[in-house]
Amino acid sequence: MTASPSLLQVSPSDAELVRRVRQGDLDAYGPLMTRYRLRFGRYAYHLLGNESDAEEALQDAFTLAYRSLDKCRHPERFAAWLFRILVNRCRTAGARRGREQARRAPLEAADGVGVSHPAEEAMRQEELTRSLGRLVPEQREAFLLKYVEELSYEEMAELTGAGESALKMRVKRACERLRHLLSESDAI
């Protein structure tokens, strides 16, 4: 079965949607957000460790992007531009929350709060979240950008402002730490 022309036409490009929004069509921003909620929500969730903070960061990033849309010089690369804003928002959210609080998962585990889900799968997922949460924020960011979002070190350097060698070291240390943490659990 082939897609009808009408179906193809209902998926305008990012650049087209950006153009409409810039012309005052706020409704055109909805489809843009929907595209990237799904795509970028994963990064925010894993970096911040819970849905609530991830949704807040995503909302903030979308709002900032809308307000700054005239600064998006290459609308066809809206996704990369938006992702940069989200990465920065996630960093800021982590700073605001504080490093100790950012490692909420292990604290919850110590209190017995974080294992409230009875399903084994949910517990494994929480174990993964706890492991990621025990990385320092810079290592967690680098690990996710490298292996989950599949960026090159060059792209990561451009995105974060850190040097490539520093990023490689962060990824290396993140892997070492995760390997150690996960070797003591059966979550993987």
């Binding site: 969730y45 991830a54 960093r91 292996y147 090159s152 995760l178 993987i188």
Partner: protein, 194 residues
């Protein structure tokens, strides 16, 4: 973002493939579906702003220098007031501005300052640096005053400070942003068109 079928650990010889990390990465790449309410909240927020004209009223804040004698040591206030008098020209400082006029594009150096007993670091985040906490660190001046100068075009910017990487601090000498909607205290600065 790239999508190819390479092993996620194939690149970078500093970290050889490891089955534990491979399995972790595979799990982390699974989709995470956040609530569609995200879009609804943002659209409602933006529509409310448009309806209320948020952002317009604060732009009308008088562009005058306001001495900060209650917040700053007398010497600092005197210097700031002197600079303002010398360069009075329609620039509102985010917490003091006062440099000579900028370039043809209207870019002005704007000095931001915060007095705080921070131990390690103070950063400035705002609309002008994509809220990146690593982009604009302040330097420690003296007597607990941290400062940084940022070139800004005429316009309206929201900003705040991050102290020691953990605490948000609104500029006590600047108007609070009306759309202070990030759950964090935010100030606003308006750079006038000359």
């Amino acid at each position: 973002m790239r999508s190819d079928d390479r092993s996620p650990l194939a690149e970078g010889s500093e970290d050889p493939a490891d089955p534990v990390i491979e399995r972790l990465v595979a799990r982390l790449r699974e989709p995470v579906s956040l609530s569609p309410g995200v879009e609804r909240v943002v659209l409602e927020r933006l529509r409310a702003e448009a309806a209320s004209g948020a952002g317009q009223s604060e732009a009308a804040v008088p562009l005058v220098f306001r001495p900060r004698s209650r917040r700053w040591p007398a010497l600092v206030s005197a210097v700031a007031a002197g600079l303002a008098a010398a360069f009075a020209g329609g620039v509102l400082f985010g917490r003091w501005s006062t440099r000579p006029p900028g370039d043809a594009a209207g870019v002005r150096p704007v000095e931001f300052a915060l007095r705080t007993p921070a131990d390690s670091a103070v950063a400035l985040v705002g609309d002008f640096n994509d809220w990146n906490p690593g982009a604009t660190p302040l330097r420690r001046a003296s007597d607990g005053v941290w400062m940084v100068t940022v070139p800004l075009r005429p316009g309206r910017y929201r900003y705040t400070f991050i102290v020691d990487g953990t605490s948000w601090r609104r500029d006590p000498a600047a108007p609070r942003a009306l759309e202070d909607d990030f759950g964090a205290p935010t100030s606003v600065i308006t750079i006038a068109q000359r």
